[in-house]
Point group: C2
Chain length 318, copies 2
Amino acid sequence: MPEIKDILLGSQIAGARMIRLIEDNDPVAFEMLKRLYPHAGNAFIIGITGSPGVGKSTLIDALITQFRTLDMKVAVIAVDPTSPFSGGAILGDRLRMQRHAADKKVFIRSMASRGQKGGLSRATKDAVVVLDAMGYEIIIIETVGAGQAEFDIASLAHSIGIVTIPGTGDGIQAIKAGILETGDIFIVNKSDKPDADASCHQLDMMIDMRKPSETNWTARVLKTIAQNQTGVKELADVFLSHFDFMKKNNLIDLKKKEMEKSYFNSLLKDLTLEKLLLFMKESEDCKKAEKKISAGVIDPLSAAELVVNKICVFESND
Amino acid sequence: MPEIKDILLGSQIAGARMIRLIEDNDPVAFEMLKRLYPHAGNAFIIGITGSPGVGKSTLIDALITQFRTLDMKVAVIAVDPTSPFSGGAILGDRLRMQRHAADKKVFIRSMASRGQKGGLSRATKDAVVVLDAMGYEIIIIETVGAGQAEFDIASLAHSIGIVTIPGTGDGIQAIKAGILETGDIFIVNKSDKPDADASCHQLDMMIDMRKPSETNWTARVLKTIAQNQTGVKELADVFLSHFDFMKKNNLIDLKKKEMEKSYFNSLLKDLTLEKLLLFMKESEDCKKAEKKISAGVIDPLSAAELVVNKICVFESND
């Protein structure tokens, strides 16, 4: 079992074990998170999102290099199942990503949602708390834009970078509308390909058309070629200047409250469901319903409805 | 609003609208599903799973062509966010997949999990019920193997095909252990690449080492080159012979019961959560907790725990 003190000292072994407990929905993880929580809240959390194939992982790999030249401790959480970090890509890619493995100030972890309980957003937030308490100054969350609607990156990160590639505008159209609205920095990667400037122009126009941001931060558009570090130093600088901007304008505290509210809500959902499913398992009605379905007397939809209709819930007064 | 009778007549417009309602968690969808359910249960449901890049979508595209030569009605549900069917790939791929778009006996739909409620497994099962009731004889579910742990393909499909590519065994290692155990047919795609035979051999050995199947079906290993239909006719035949095998050995009914139990459980979870969240929204304790978090008096983890501890649940006797 990992020790709180080792996690706070930044032990990568203890941190990895703790995140494993989180993924396994181990009840110990919850107790430990409560103790780690007061030590978190200092990291700058960056979300990197975009469709598969735009080079998110390569870009993150290049960003790590840049943040390391500033001697910052960097952690990465890959939520994208197709990320080389998650083992979802071909072997060559995966090996390339391991170049930072020997660096004690870099920690890369992929998140998988194990078991039935809890969502990926909640587990990722839990992991962010751990990495933050471990003392990482930069935490990068890699997420695929499409097909992860349930994953709300905006409630997890201070700054959101959206990665796209030059093309017919298809890359931009593929970005979900909601994410477009929340993007702080837009990155046209592989910008040695034709039409990179046209893509930048499209993004600039799109930013102009957005409703004015409450924070007064003007979204930026940058060109990179992550493969050879082109533009990546500038990108790292823009991310850091966004964090500075947030600090100077008292936006960090506002964002923290927003993040905490969202964390509270997903915790509430998870804990409630846990409690209810435990109750369900013991329920006589449930057992009867299963028998009836098996006998073909009732369909699963009607049976579930009947069982749930009989559940009563109330708040106790003590 | 789609009409039950149009869905039962196989109208693709009505079917697409119905699936949209499911994705939107529209309460009408639930009522309609109850009415459609008795008309479902005839389709042969095939799960196709494998890591991104192994050519699942191209293979499914080729399988559609084969099943169509047998004049069978085919539907595809793409759950993989990186699938060209889901719009997660580059434009060229996506266009290629649309060759069957004009065929009235082919229906292709990608599933996205919208909103917070419900899981992807549940929504996919709902969609299968619709397609089944529409009269599709073959329903193919495309799912990515990695990073979708919460998605239980075994409880949705009669037959599971696992797609891999020739290589250093890496492709096989990348397949999740649980899925390996449940695979009925293993497909080495892109088998014109070196080491295809070695991959087949590895898979054969792996199958030999599995614990004997309860159904006595011996898993098969096939080589395909989906791009040019090589081996795809044979693959379609093996899938159909697996379905025949299940019918002859009274396994269909057993599988149906298993599927229904799993469907009931996910419905129970979803409906329970829905009911609880409604209750939570009105809860005084919840509102108080949010204020305390915002004031920094309590952390989100402890606050959620306190609120949930006060919830009482019981079954009514009427």
